[in-house]
Amino acid sequence: MLTKRIIPCLDIKNGRTVKGVNFVNLRDAGDPVELAKQYAVKGADELVFLDISATLEGRKTMIDMVLKVAEQVNIPFTVGGGISSVEDVDILLKSGADKVSVNSSAVKRPELVNELANKFGSQCVVVAIDAKQIDGEWMVHLAGGSIPTNLNLFDWAKEVERRGAGEILFTSMNNDGTKAGFANDALAKLSETLNIPIIASGGAGTVQHFVDTFKDGKADAALAASVFHFGEIAIKDLKEALKDNNIAVRL
């Protein structure tokens, strides 16, 4: 049986791992390659690296990091952050990334999703969507949640699926950094509306939150950062608890 995936997310700035709480305060949580190797051994199913460097120098460092991760880590990984062209993706995939995730650049120019799916295949195109619930409606936001758009989450998700996205990484800005659980209602609606895998992101605080997002949120995978980076939840314990709740996991 296909199992639910547990995905630690590593925010990278100038080659180092950082984790933003509500995307503002950053704390250093170590060397990304070492952390990635540890996660692979501890049972993570995949990894996501999000480049939050704003400079060209930082982007070059990111490509070096991707090469090192591909060399040393034996599980799949996705790279996101600042990707806006076919050329950007080409170099990341050639450096060993398995998938890339695009966010703002796809909102600004939706054809990018088609171009990437046609050139590299849907299987490596993840569209990340940050959304916030405002007056009952889920609206897509850009730039780490700071810039609102007039796009509805479900319409946008449906559109990127049609354009060739292979997977959706949905982060609820209402839940992110709260450690109060994932946005399961919106996740379940996404999962029922779309026929591609959905990764739940934003709000993980306890083991029960993961159980809930797989059961109630119907998520295919769950992503989290600080609960893993700071050892609050061990992946093995988490997976055993999921198994006890009849959720298929790789142990």
Binding site: M1, L2, T3, K4, R5, A40, D45, E46, L67, A70, E71, Q72, N74, I75, P76, L93, K94, S95, G96, A97, D98, N118, F120, G121, S122, Q123, C124, G166, E167, N195, I196, P197, D220, A221, R250
Partner: protein, 193 residues
């Protein structure tokens, strides 16, 4: 040991090269027919769309070379699918090494199948020391039907062939290079075939 990974412009081949490097082998990337023919073992990778990958093979003449190879050949993911008779993806003919068609998953399940699923009914030395129900990582929207040449089966909406073998040709739908230590064991087994 001369290990060649066929480089015809399709997909993420760096990961396969790195996986062999972790096992202590230097694999060469090549589209040169002489170099491929002279290899002890050949890896036929592939990620992307079937009909355009088939087109790339034709342009380089590799479509006629690959079926004539005598040494062990391992197709991975799309590489395995291209070794089949045909694919529904872009309605293309394949290399016809495996006598089976490649079809798309129906929409009763999420497509692509993305993630870790088990392999069972394991046959041949490719799966030496690999336990039944071992987890492998795959990403795919199309599958080879279960058939006489199946050497591993996986279930996703239906039972399909997650590995195939005929003579010196082997194919795996999953990514051994991304499937943790058990995937590396399969690559090691292929090297020692």
């Amino acid at each position: 040991m001369k290990l060649v990974i066929i480089d015809y412009g399709a997909g993420n081949i760096k990961s396969i090269q790195f996986a062999f490097k972790r096992l202590g082998y230097d694999a060469i990337l090549s589209n040169n027919p002489d170099e491929i023919k002279a290899a002890d073992k050949v890896i036929f990778p592939g990620v992307g769309e079937a009909s355009s990958a088939m087109q790339m093979l034709k342009e380089s003449g590799l479509d006629t070379l690959i079926p004539t190879l005598k040494q062990p050949v391992l197709g991975i993911c799309l590489g395995m699918q291209l070794m089949c008779k045909s694919s529904e993806e872009g309605n293309t003919k394949g290399l016809g090494i495996f006598n089976v068609d490649v079809k798309r998953f129906n929409n009763t399940v999420k497509v692509p199948q993305m993630g870790w699923n088990t392999i069972t009914d394991l046959k041949t030395e490719l799966f030496k020391d690999i336990k039944d129900e071992t987890f492998m990582y795959s990403v795919h929207s199309f599958y080879a039907e279960n058939c006489k040449e199946s050497i591993a089966t996986t279930t996703y909406s239906l039972d399909f062939a997650s590995a195939l073998q005929k003579d010196n040709f082997y194919g795996v739908q999953f990514h051994p290079e991304k499937s943790s230590v058990v995937g590396e064991q399969i690559l090691k087994n292929f090297i020692t075939l």
